[in-house]
Symmetry: C2
Subunit: 188 residues, 2 copies
């Protein structure tokens, strides 16, 4: 399946665009290839848009003053990622995004997203639902973080995204769950 087809199917799940409308939208996406370890967004830099994952796996993470990493989001095929805080507040990136594996992405600039949203009502509809889904997921994760211990959170994550188990090293899983890698290692 081509990148174009992946995006088309993804959008079709929540919005109905004509062939013509979709082709027009697709012109605004810039295909990018990244190698494992490459940085997509670097803290402090300007964020020019958001990224739709065609293949591979990325992480969006924050490094605190003690050089501890916390992972905000993994991004797998058909997921979107960026520093949404930076995009929303029009500031420099406060997080990093990089590639856990080789990855193919489609980049859409904020300016183009807003243009497409205002030109095509269904595109705005699509982005509303996508963001809504992210909001609900973030709220669920907040509750899980407050309610559950490390083991329960780990099991929940594995239940939700079993692919992560083999795709992502455990210390990154730990950084997502908000526990130390040692504690995660002792959970079995």
């Amino acid at each position: 399946m081509t990148a174009k087809e992946v995006l088309k199917d993804h959008i079709a799940k929540m919005a109905s665009l004509t062939e013509e409308e979709f082709n027009y939208c697709y012109e605004h996406f810039k295909p990018l290839s990244f190698k494992k370890g490459q940085v997509v967004i670097r803290e402090g830099d300007k964020v020019d848009g958001e990224y739709f994952v065609i293949s591979g796996c990325l992480k969006a993470f924050y490094i605190n003053d003690d050089v501890k990493m916390h992972i905000l989001q993994f991004a797998m095929p058909t997921w979107w990622t960026s520093d949404y805080q930076a995009l929303y507040t029009q500031t420099k990136a406060s997080i990093n995004v990089d590639c856990i594996t080789d990855a193919e992405l489609l980049c859409l600039t904020s300016a183009d997203r807003e243009k497409l949203c205002s030109e095509i009502h269904q595109v705005e509809h699509f982005f509303r639902w996508r963001t809504n889904k992210g909001y609900v997921a973030a709220q669920r994760r907040l509750l899980s973080l407050m309610n559950n211990d490390a083991k329960t959170r780990y099991e929940e994550l594995m239940r939700l995204y079993p692919q992560l188990h083999d795709l992502v090293p455990k210390h990154l899983i730990a950084a997502y769950l908000g526990v130390s890698r040692e504690t995660l290692s002792r959970l079995y």
Copy 2:
């Protein structure tokens, strides 16, 4: 300021509706008055829509099996609240929403929200931005929960929403921060 004016100003911050369009929208909102302590959404019940706060303060919270409460969100004037997970997945409420003080709300059903979004492009635009804002706030809170200790989180909350200090009893602040009321009490 009337409820209608409060809503109008709020929407105008992110979207431009004509007088006529706004009046049409406003017909779909149902004004409701609640007394302190009254329940707006009860766990297990059907959720019929979302609520825009005109006055007062509410909380959206989850009670776990150990009968411990975790607060997902406070809602103050010009904020929206509901069980967005239930609305998104079309399931029964998994959280509760009730009133910390007497409150005036405007209720918009999901069906009406979707209708208005599809009829008026600018309404869809408004709801996209509102949800985006919530998503960014939830992500920031996730990071804070993973990065910061109880004291730092408390100070951050007070900096962000100083009104909460006098409006909301401390054990509810604790339930929002994800610490016990005893620990919060010892922070000063």
